[in-house]
């Protein structure tokens, strides 16, 4: 589904990614781990199509389609979803209205009519129930005054609404207490099926106890240096990243 080959990317003239390789198939959960500053969040931004990042070498494709020159909105229409580490606050636009706008923008891009209001409402209610989100929350301004946990829960709720092919979760666990973490992980687990895939970017192994990955990749200095099964995450938790640095 997602193929990344020897990906190099720079921002503000500085090369951050220096050789990323990743091959994600439908139904798989991949974890990307690495110390601070290794390029994890940059990789997330590059996958989702942030304008400031320039791909200088290598390739990235979704279902065989080259993504490198594709705008962020187009990637979203193709089925990529990025759950942000720091979701943006939009005063005056409710969660519901934002989701409506985004879903209908995608439908329009695909040549479809707007989703009928009652159908939209039904879907929102259904997914909200799944994530234990009450209706007051839906009429609040998007992310404005949300706690860290509410923001992340809202991201995962949006993910469920958009039903992407590939979901990238960037540090979704940061700033969450254990209960919020469980709710969010539970949402992700309900989302995963045979048709879609999830890439979990995280600093700690903690989240991976709840969202169990099929593969774990380690990034150091912008390169994927080691891949393995979920046991690799346990090993990192115990030993830290230094032993891999020495190995490399």
């Amino acid at each position: 589904m997602l193929k990344i080959k020897n990906l190099h990317a720079k921002v503000d003239g500085k090369t951050i990614l220096k050789g990323i390789n990743l091959n994600v198939k439908p139904g798989e959960v991949h974890a990307i781990m690495g110390p601070n500053g290794s390029g994890k969040s940059t990789l997330a931004s590059v996958m989702a199509g942030h304008e400031d990042y320039e791909i200088t070498k290598g390739s990235i494709s979704l279902e065989g389609e080259d993504l490198s020159d594709m705008d962020a909105e187009l990637r979203s229409h193709k089925g990529i979803f990025l759950s942000f580490q720091y979701p943006v606050e939009i005063p005056g636009v409710s969660v519901t209205n934002f989701i409506k706008t985004a879903i209908n923008a995608t439908r329009k891009a695909k040549g479809l009519q707007d989703m009928p209001a009652n159908e939209m409402l039904k879907k929102i209610r259904e997914k909200a129930a799944l994530f234990e989100i009450d209706s007051k929350f839906l009429s609040r301004s998007l992310n404005e005054g949300f706690s860290g946990g509410e923001k992340k829960r809202n991201e995962i709720f949006q993910m469920a609404m958009f039903d992407p092919k590939l979901a990238i979760l960037d540090e979704t666990d940061s700033g969450l207490d254990i209960d919020a973490l469980k709710t969010v992980a539970n949402g992700v687990n309900k989302f995963i099926n045979k048709e879609n895939a999830v890439v979990v970017i995280t600093h700690y192994q903690r989240l991976l106890e709840y969202i169990v990955p099929d593969f774990v990749h380690v990034i150091l200095d912008g390169k994927t240096v080691k891949s393995g099964s979920k046991e690799l995450a346990m090993e990192l938790e115990l030993k830290g990243y230094d032993w891999i640095k020495e190995m490399v």
């Binding site: 199509g49 229409h77 939009i90 005056g92 958009f162």
Partner: protein
């Protein structure tokens, strides 16, 4: 003949059309002398540094509309708050339109300046208030004063709450290719009274229209005024709005200015205090594009202790549009315990758009809380990326963020129907259809 000369020379003809025995004629003559001496302001005047009137005053304008040009209600309905019942004072090319208006004398006076000047029963109010807060040595105010004839006259007596909002609308039809309008409004809220007022100037087709308006507003003890200026005119129309308020003790006055169009718009907004525990609010949203130009020139003069003022202006400028915010807070030595806040935040969406923001604080009291802040920035790239990554196209994403930027000003709008109208004007101005009502 230069237009300035014409204005001076035409005054004799003007006098023939009015009753020069009315109570304000001496003021007119005095004002004409001021204008004759001062002329139009130029960019040499500090207050007009960023706004030149040359492009306007180098043209010729009709001064006296010949007759009323009837317009059909259905063609202008959208400019009214038609969803609710309101009082209306409507002018077409400067001439009162009884057909479109809905005035009253039932417990409160919502009528015309010309009527108030000609009838004896209004004499006491005219004598007490007319020309008493407007700054006669300001040349444009003087020019307007010298040609005082028509405008809105609103008097809300003691303890009366105007149950309906009051709309003041000036249409210009383009029947005269170029026209210079000078409405003169007097609004008095007597002790413990309340009113909501909406003011609009609207051209019905592109033509050169310049409106030099003066509005005097008196908000007496314990009174409450809520005023909205909707400036969404065509980009061939210019407006010089001179508004002066005098508030008495325990009164609350708020003026929201929504500037969404016009060729050159200058808002001279002046608040004066006479009494303690006064609350003044000046807020605005400006969204301009093309070569539109706005100049907000505000003054809050704190002369009394224990008063508060809040100013917050948000500006969004695209293309080659230009914005100026000059906000002056003056705190006199007597005005201890003043709380004065001023904020001007601006977004520049294009390289050629400009903003000049100039806060001015002059404080002569030592126990006050005063703050001011100005920002000029661009849309947050990360925020834009966030929206686009959710499938929202770039232009819509920009519009959403722009709307979000201006949103907190809308929260202060008390009349739901006005809020709705402003939101749709903003969506229109931003050129987006977001699939829901903002």
């Amino acid at each position: 003949m230069e237009f300035q000369e014409k204005l001076l020379a035409s005054h004799i003809a003007f006098e023939e059309q009015i009753d020069y025995n009315d109570p304000v004629h001496k003021t007119r003559i005095k004002a004409l002398e001021v204008f004759e001496k001062k002329g139009f302001p130029s960019r040499k005047d500090e207050a007009w540094k960023y706004t030149s009137l040359n492009a306007l005053i180098s043209k010729d304008y009709a001064l006296f509309p010949k007759s009323e040009t009837p317009i059909e209600l259905k063609k202008v309905k959208k400019f009214f708050l038609y969803e609710i019942d309101t009082y209306k004072i409507v002018f077409i090319d400067g001439v009162y339109s009884p057909f479109l208006s809905d005035t009253t004398h039932d417990g409160l006076d919502i009528c015309l300046m010309s009527a108030a000047l000609s009838k004896y029963k209004y004499r006491r109010i005219i004598d007490s208030y007319f020309g008493s807060v407007a700054k006669i040595d300001d040349s444009l105010t003087a020019l307007n004063t010298s040609y005082t004839r028509e405008g809105a006259y609103i008097y809300i007596p003691k303890d009366i709450v105007s149950e309906k909002p009051i709309e003041i609308i000036h249409f210009s039809t383009g029947k005269e290719k170029s026209i210079w309008l000078q409405p003169r409004n007097l609004i008095v809220l007597d002790n413990n009274s309340q009113a909501q007022i909406i003011e609009r100037h609207q051209s019905l087709k592109p033509h050169d229209v310049v409106t030099n308006s003066v509005t005097e507003i008196f908000v007496n003890k314990e009174a409450l005024l809520d005023y909205y200026k909707i400036q969404n005119d065509l980009n061939t129309s210019s407006l010089i709005d001179n508004t002066y308020l005098l508030q008495e003790k325990n009164s609350t006055a708020s003026i929201h200015t929504f500037s969404l169009g016009g060729k050159i718009v200058r808002n001279n907004l002046n608040f004066h205090h006479s009494g303690q525990r006064i609350n003044s609010t000046l807020k605005g949203v400006t969204i301009l594009n093309g070569e539109e130009h706005i100049d907000h020139y505000t003054l809050v003069n704190h002369s009394q202790p224990n008063c508060e003022s809040f100013q917050e202006y948000k500006g969004i400028f695209s293309d080659k549009s230009k914005g100026i915010f000059n906000g002056k807070i003056f705190v006199e030595g007597l005005a201890q315990k003043t709380n004065a806040f001023q904020q001007s935040n601006n977004l520049l969406l294009d390289d050629m758009a400009t903003v000049n923001a100039k806060p001015q604080l002059e404080i002569f009291a030592d126990d006050v809380k005063c703050s001011h802040g100005c920002t000029v920035g661009q849309l947050d790239k990360e925020a834009l990326f966030y929206l686009r990554s959710r499938g929202v196209p770039k232009d819509d994403a920009k519009a959403l963020l722009t709307y979000a930027f201006a949103n907190n000003i809308l929260n202060g709008v008390q009349l739901p129907v006005v809020k709705k109208r402003i939101k749709s004007l903003i969506a229109n101005k931003l050129g987006v259809n977001l699939g829901f009502d903002l």
